[in-house]
Amino acid sequence: MATQVTESPLDTGGEAALVAEIRVAMPEHGLRHDLRAVGIVWQRELIRFRSDRLRAVTSLIQPFLFLFVLGTGLSALAGHGLPAGVDFKTFIYPGVLAMSVLFTSVFSAGSIVWDREFGFLREMLVAPVSRASLVVGKCVGGATIATLQGVVFLALAGFAHVPYNAVLFLTLFGELLLLSFTLTAFGVMMAGRITQFQSFMALTQMLVMPLFFLSGALYPLNGLPTWLSVLTRIDPLTYIIGPMRHAVFTHLDIPQAYVEKLAPGITWGNWVVPIGVSLAIVAVMGLTMMSVAIAEFSKTE
């Protein structure tokens, strides 16, 4: 390739050479380039999250209300169903912890819709990188900020009488990350289709609340009427909240019988879905939705 530089009337010859260097040295498309793109998209999510502290605070208000207001208010009533020594707040803690990442994940994907309206999406779409790396960066970025928010809530575990145990916290952290990733992938997939921010917010809100209520976040999965039992098994959130509650209850100082009563495994007929399978279901869903999102963003007008 012939050197394409002409000259650059700047003060130093070095800068003129720079132009040539950049042109000639631009590497062919490769994995490193894609990873760099993933990295910068991820970094942008973090910068924007850091500069928007208000969002971080406001999105913690709702789980806060659920845990402390609803949890305390209902504990007298709901306490009768619980064995002695188990607080209602402890019972709903895993569900509310999941809630703390719910909206942040889905709405972080909403910034794509925003970017489309304000043009920045175009800057990304015309770049010589695979669309896959943009979508992956977005999903990982959304998962990161949502999990960071979950960590704030994780720190409040003591108020719900959940012990500060390293294994438990690592487990919960990993599960939060998985949940956040899948939810962000869901949001990105929706954002691939929806071009208006209001519609995106309305539609995702409409979908997210039922998912939360049907997931057994606030009640145990055993002894439910058939219709609700079926719906909870269809809800993907069930398969992450189940393992989270299991993790919490196995680390409480209570008899095994209580654990089985309060955090029963998810059953399909008579088969108890192992925790590994349960988590795999969530991971596969996340990856599938991310693939759909990649396909959507790879289309050309």
Binding site: H29, I40, R44, I47, G119, T300
Partner: protein, 346 residues
């Protein structure tokens, strides 16, 4: 270090015969959106190092063409290559070669100017050690180096456009696309943007493809293509296009315009039409014609103006309308459509 023209000349001499090679070449290009044919079979070539302008009213197909060249849209038929790569089959290679400045801003307002550029550098795989010096170079060029830490949301419209131009150049593209680079800016900012673009042509070996609907901006181009209703109606240097008309434009205001038009036809065999609120026509030598006009036209004349052919006249002679009329009628049409739409919803 500032003997710019000479240096560019030298490049042509040593440019191993490539300098006249087309950087952009388009053949039989069409684009259809449903029933609407936005581009109806256009052909043109852009030579390396030239500034090529697409001139036409809004809705003529300029932005659609740019979108196809930038791989943002697929052509319905025909072929386009940029820097030797097919825009529909070698999208990534094309994207690597081009810089883009869109009509609407595509900056992230919540990031600093520097972070916007760093984001771009990563997506375009600018080598890590070249990012900082190159960033300084392009920001210096548009006079924004001292504002690099400012949030883009605090920038004025002109600053944003300048930052976008800097960003479009960051990865040293072979072709820079500017879609209406000065639309929506005040005249002073417009002229400063043009100063940067002209500087750029001198500094870097770059081909510029731009669209505009401002006649005076088209004058900055080495060659222009006049596009109207999705077709190229003329393509040449601004000088050659003006010379091709060879006529002066006369505009008169009269007490009775229709009568004046009729009288011009009967008396002088001149086809006149209403443009911009005045009876407008072209004659070979305007100054000599005006005394005859006063002597022989029965309709009282209130004012008269004679002008040398401008690009406006070129546009008019090729399309039968002035660009302002074309814009007005297209915005009329849009207004009517909007009215119909709201009426239907009521």
């Amino acid at each position: 270090m500032t003997s710019v023209g000479a240096d560019l000349g030298e490049v042509d001499l040593v440019g191993n015969g490539n300098s006249r090679k087309p950087v952009i070449s388009v053949a039989g290009l069409t684009k259809r959106y449903g029933d609407v044919e936005a581009v109806r079979g256009i052909d043109f070539e852009v030579i390396r190092g030239e500034t090529f302008g697409f001139l036409g009213p809004n809705g003529a197909g300029k932005t659609t063409t740019i979108k196809i060249l930038c791989t943002l849209a697929k052509a319905t038929s025909g072929r386009a290559t940029v820097a030797g790569h097919d825009t529909s089959t070698e999208q990534e290679k094309v994207r690597r070669m081009i810089g883009l400045v869109f009509q609407d801003t595509t900056l992230d307002n919540y990031l600093t100017a520097e972070m916007n550029l760093r984001f771009h550098a990563a997506l375009y795989a600018v080598p890590g050690d070249a990012v900082q010096p190159r960033m300084r170079q392009v920001l210096d060029m548009v006079g924004l180096w001292d504002r690099k830490d400012g949030l883009v949301s605090t920038f004025s419209g002109g600053m944003k456009r300048r930052l976008e131009i800097a960003r479009g150049l960051l990865h040293a593209p072979h072709v820079l696309f500017l879609d209406e680079p000065t639309v929506g800016l005040d005249p002073q900012t417009r002229s400063s943007i043009w100063k940067y673009i002209n500087d750029l042509k001198r500094r870097e070996d770059i081909t510029i493809f731009l669209t505009t609907h401002y006649m005076d901006e088209a004058e900055h181009c080495d060659r222009i293509a006049i596009i109207d209703h999705g077709k190229i109606v003329a393509i040449d240097t601004p000088q050659a296009l003006k010379a091709s008309i060879g006529k002066d434009r006369v505009q008169i205001q009269t007490a009775d315009d229709p009568a004046a038009i009729a009288a011009l036809r009967d008396r002088f065999a001149i086809e006149a039409a209403m443009h911009e609120g005045a009876v407008t026509f072209s004659v070979a030598s305007g100054e000599e014609f005006v005394p005859r006009l006063f002597a022989e036209l029965a309709v009282p004349i209130r004012s008269v103006s004679v002008s040398r052919p401008s690009l406006d006249d070129v546009f008019m002679s090729y399309t039968g309308t002035t660009i302002r009329d074309a814009e007005a009628s297209s915005s009329d049409a849009m207004r009517q459509m909007a009215q119909r739409w709201t009426a239907g919803r009521r």
